[in-house]
Symmetry: C2
Subunit: 334 residues, 2 copies
């Protein structure tokens, strides 16, 4: 495909690189401009050149602030008094809560009762009201919509919203800027996927600048709905009723908007087992000196486990967050 | 003092900014160019603008690689066969071992038997031979000199060497480059001190570009020889026979060369208790998502504890390393 025809195709997608440029302008004064890191120890371990995008260094400890703030900045003044409501296992919760505080809006977050304690506490610390639900028996979307109706609040979706995807896309835009400054082109770019908003945004930004780059979603083995859906060419849920230590990556099926993008721009979905994720969290502690939460480490886990054919390639791994309870972290690094 | 007279004075010191420029050229292809980070959570916590220089992201997990590689690159080809010998509690050990591997030289490291296990193991992993000694009863310098004599090895001092100080000074040079790019001038710059090589190099680089900046060494309360010596105007040992969790900062007296620099360029020495250091390590885990070892966190600890008059100032804190055993780390973050 030529660059031109690719650009034309991209215009038909729900988000394009101009949307991401606009999000970058909205976020400039509020989001952290995270660096692009490299590690001699990692390069030696995997035998190729790797760059890391450390989104645990982002405001709230994950990339989620980007999408939430970009979306919420678009809420008209007249509607801000009603506040916002969101459902989230924790990172979107913090992103929305932090954005709401900056924008001076009340925020209510519907969180699963088994979300990590640190994520619940941090969400409250940003001033949000937290409403807990039972992950196995209650419908979080219904609870959130009910609150939105009663309070006149705006529902801030975690991924299936063009402004959220565009906000997450600034991660990819920054990767491209920093790679260009280094004079290096990425061959493979990997980002974790739950609903798929991050990887959709990253893919949109990266493919606009590096059309030859191969984009991959990374998921826990037991929550492999992107891998399945990309193989099938249509949205499919994961088969598992299992759990994973990757609490941030437990969506059951790709988003509609995100999959419209990902099905066109991603080459494949890769997975890593919880054991492999644990090894990656420990590697990041010992060798990278970065605190990565399990869900944030799934791409690194797949790379370290040899699930990515990386030999001779320049690989970029998005480490999407670092919000992990201290007791789980202590177990994973020991 | 005018800038010119300060520059003239600096020329009399053992290391000047041209030496640091030269070190930067030597290190360019081998050291990691660490970023300058900021954290909204930290700025909010201390109520001012803070930048962090995260040297745990450096090759070997601390700044020490810089000085070791710069020094060892100067060893003539004819002397490289004899290898190098060094004494170190762990971070200089790894820096020397990693530099020796790159330069294809044998390395022997004299380490205290109570050095953190991870530091001993990582030093061996770089291919160095490790010789343990009893910190309380044996003279590590004598052991190292004996090895140097027997093997024809070059002794690589941990701090009292102009090329080592110049290598550590590249930390300050990078801080200046990144601050200049942001259009921000540092008011206060803090770096941990054991023998004082890092803070001497950083002070030399920062004062050359920002003569008005206030430079401070940071130490554990029980190992406050820089604070005492700066007050006294001459090298004085700390009074303590105590221990500290800051295993990297247990030198008993400032170096001669380093103090010649530090007594001229530092405004004061600040300290933090082990309890305050533990809080800083936990803060870095929860809020910064950076793995900082106790000795690397002592400047941050002093800032968080309110020991630095930071209100309204732009503060730069050097986080000097992240090599900490998992079991101690688990205790500190819980």
């Amino acid at each position: 495909m030529t660059q031109q025809s690719q650009a034309q195709q991209s215009q038909a997608l729900p988000v394009n690189s101009a949307d991401i440029d606009a999000a970058a302008r909205v976020l400039a004064a509020f989001a952290v401009r995270t660096p692009l890191l490299s590690s001699p120890a990692l390069d030696e371990r995997v035998g190729t050149r790797v760059f890391l995008k450390p989104e645990m260094l982002q405001r709230t400890g994950s990339f989620k602030f980007r999408g939430a703030f970009n979306r919420m900045s678009s809420i008209p003044e007249s509607a801000r008094g009603g506040g916002v409501v969101a459902f989230s296992s924790g990172n979107h919760a913090q992103g929305v809560a932090a954005a709401a505080r900056i924008l001076n809006m009340p925020a209510t977050i519907v969180m699963p009762a088994d979300a990590p304690l640190s994520k619940r506490e941090r969400t409250k610390a940003y001033g949000a009201e937290v409403v807990l639900y039972d992950r196995d028996r209650e419908d979080r979307e219904a609870i959130a919509r009910d609150i939105a109706d009663k309070r006149g609040a705006t529902l801030v979706r975690p991924y299936d919203d063009p402004l959220v995807i565009a906000g997450q896309g600034t991660v990819g835009r920054e990767i491209c800027e920093d790679m260009a400054a280094l004079g290096v082109a990425p061959d493979i770019v990997v980002a974790p996927a739950s609903g798929g908003g991050l990887v959709a945004g990253v893919a949109t930004a990266v493919k606009a600048r590096y059309p030859q780059a191969v984009l991959m979603s990374a998921e826990p083995e037991a929550f492999d709905d992107h891998a399945r859906s990309l193989r099938a060419g249509k949205r499919e849920p994961h088969a598992s009723k299992g759990r994973t230590i990757c609490d941030a990556l437990m969506a059951s099926i790709p988003g509609e908007l995100t999959f419209a993008i990902n099905s066109r721009l991603l080459s494949q979905g890769i997975t890593a087992s919880d054991a492999e994720v644990g090894i990656a969290v420990g590697f990041a502690f010992r060798e990278l000196k970065l605190v990565v939460e399990p869900g944030g480490a799934v791409g690194l886990a797949a790379l370290l486990a040899g699930h990515i054919e990386a030999a001779g390639k320049t690989v970029v791994i998005v480490l999407s967050g670092g919000n992990v309870d201290a007791d789980l972290y202590a177990r994973l690094i020991n």
